[in-house]
Amino acid sequence: MQLLMFYLLGFGAVVSALLLVTNKRPVAAAMSLILTMLFLAGIYVLLDAHLIAALQIIVYAGAIMVLFLFVIMLLNVEEKAGRLSNRKIALQFISILVVGAILISVTGLIKIGPSQVVDSFGTTKAVGQMLFTDFLLPFEIASILLLAAIVGAVILAKRRIDD
């Protein structure tokens, strides 16, 4: 049952990702990206990571993609006709193959034994406890990085308004 669900969700994710890169209309492409993220959230739920799944939908599908759509609509991005030359398509396929080969060989190098999963794995409490004890330093560094990014964005936007 779980395997079946995984294949269904994985298939959906791959198909919507393909739709994203092949679609010429910007809004349709953005909507397929949202669909990909929803399928990914489904895969997280299968892995018992309910919190990550909820955050995936809230942050990526719910907030960031709305901004994407907002910008697409505001700028009124036009679809461009035309197709890639055969040479470029061939180049793309070769690069996809190379990256895939590297990825597969690297994952083959890492040995992951059957991991011990505690019952509370993936719950809000467990994730919070881990985040604020074992991984406190990376967490704080990431938050400072985000703060710097926010301040930077505000300064950039403000300079434009002042001019």
């Binding site: 809004v27 909507m31 939908i57 599908a61 719910g62 907030a63 759509l69 907002f70 609509m73 809000t124």
Partner: protein, 358 residues
């Protein structure tokens, strides 16, 4: 296994029939009647069957017939696929989010433990947030795909407004989670068995902030900028007719029900009466035997919950017909310069109080 499955199906049918079958048609009537009362008009009183009018209660039926027989019109140059998809995206989250809201406690019926919530998720409140944030797409896509400038403006306004108030709403709820120590809505409901631990006493500022943000998310007056009819015709659903128009409309009403459900669960004791614990209810009904007592207690709790929900629906309707519409820059200023700092202040104060208390 079979028992669990039937239990879940019964709960889903119950909530579905209450929300879609009762609240959404009746709220259309309530909205008209209440606005008429408040504006000193007579209100809906024309629909009649054999000259019986029963204070306009036939209007929901007349509406349904009218809507189903109207032409479904898609404007020229509109994106057909997204134009059709948008109302569905708008309606689905409004129905789905009620799944994690508990409408009663735990009961022992013939040795089978019944929990009156469809899905008791550990991420509870975040699930509601996730789906509420998806409902933005219905509005945005509806506005964009209609090939109409008014619609597009409405969609843009809606997306900016909903994003802004989602931030303040999330931060407000952090205070609530700090107090209760859980995201699971059934846990939050259990704790409020004690009257003095109701959310309104523990998070008074949080309640006001949450209600304001919820109305803004709901896009009703005073926050109905996305559909401001004096500026944008009808905003994002200008080009919608027939059943699709009603889906937007139903989505809005079901959102009101869900918001009232969340407010009841987080701030007003969920399914509990003040000063009455579940144990007391069971002992009062004990002459009816253990199963009978459990069933009676269950009925009382569910009734209490839906009465509270109906009260908040009335409150939201009253606010909608009392306050005038904000200007768009006022909406944005309120969201970013007042709600957001106040929500942060709320977290700060809650943290200090919790530290001192321990």
């Amino acid at each position: 296994m079979i028992a669990d499955l039937t239990e879940t199906i019964i709960k889903i049918l119950f909530i579905f029939s209450i929300n879609v079958g009762f609240y959404s048609p009746i709220l259309g009537w309530v909205e008209r009647k209440q606005s008429a009362l408040m504006q000193d008009r007579v209100g809906a009183n024309r629909a009649n069957i054999l000259n019986f009018k029963i204070i306009g209660l036939f209007h929901p039926i007349a509406d349904a017939v009218k809507v189903l027989t109207k032409e479904d019109f898609i404007p020229e140059g509109a994106d057909k696929f997204f134009h059709t998809l948008a109302p569905f995206i708008s309606l689905t989250p409004a129905i789905v989010t009620f799944a994690v809201i508990p409408f009663g406690g735990n009961y022992e019926l013939w040795g089978h433990s019944v929990k009156l919530v469809i899905a008791d998720l550990d991420v509870g409140m975040l699930f509601i947030f996730a789906f509420a944030s998806l409902s933005t797409y219905g509005v945005v896509l509806g506005g964009w795909s209609s090939n109409n400038n008014w619609s597009l403006l409405g969609g843009l306004r809606a997306s900016a407004q909903m994003l802004s108030y989602e931030v303040a709403m999330g931060l407000t709820l952090i205070g609530v989670f700090m107090v209760y120590g859980s995201l699971r809505l059934t846990d939050i409901g259990m704790i409020q068995e004690n009257f003095f631990r109701w959310g309104i006493f523990m998070q008074p500022l949080g309640f006001i902030l949450f209600l304001t943000c919820a109305i803004a998310e709901n896009k009703r007056a005073p926050f109905d900028q996305p559909e401001a009819e004096s500026e944008l015709v009808a905003g994002y659903f200008t080009e919608y007719s027939s059943m699709k128009f009603v889906m937007f409309w139903m989505g809005e009403f079901l959102e009101i029900v869900t918001i009232s459900g969340i407010v009841t669960t987080l701030f007003f004791g969920a399914w509990h009466l003040p000063f009455v614990t579940d144990q007391m209810l069971l002992s009062w009904f004990s002459p009816a035997g253990p199963n009978g007592a459990a069933i009676l207690a269950m009925i009382v709790n569910v009734l209490v919950f839906f009465l509270k929900v109906s009260f908040f629906i009335w409150l939201l309707m009253t606010i909608r017909w009392t306050l005038p519409r904000f200007r768009y820059d006022q909406v944005m200023r309120l969201g970013w310069k007042m709600m957001l700092p106040l929500a942060l202040l709320n977290i700060f104060i809650t943290g200090i109080v919790l530290l001192v208390w321990k």
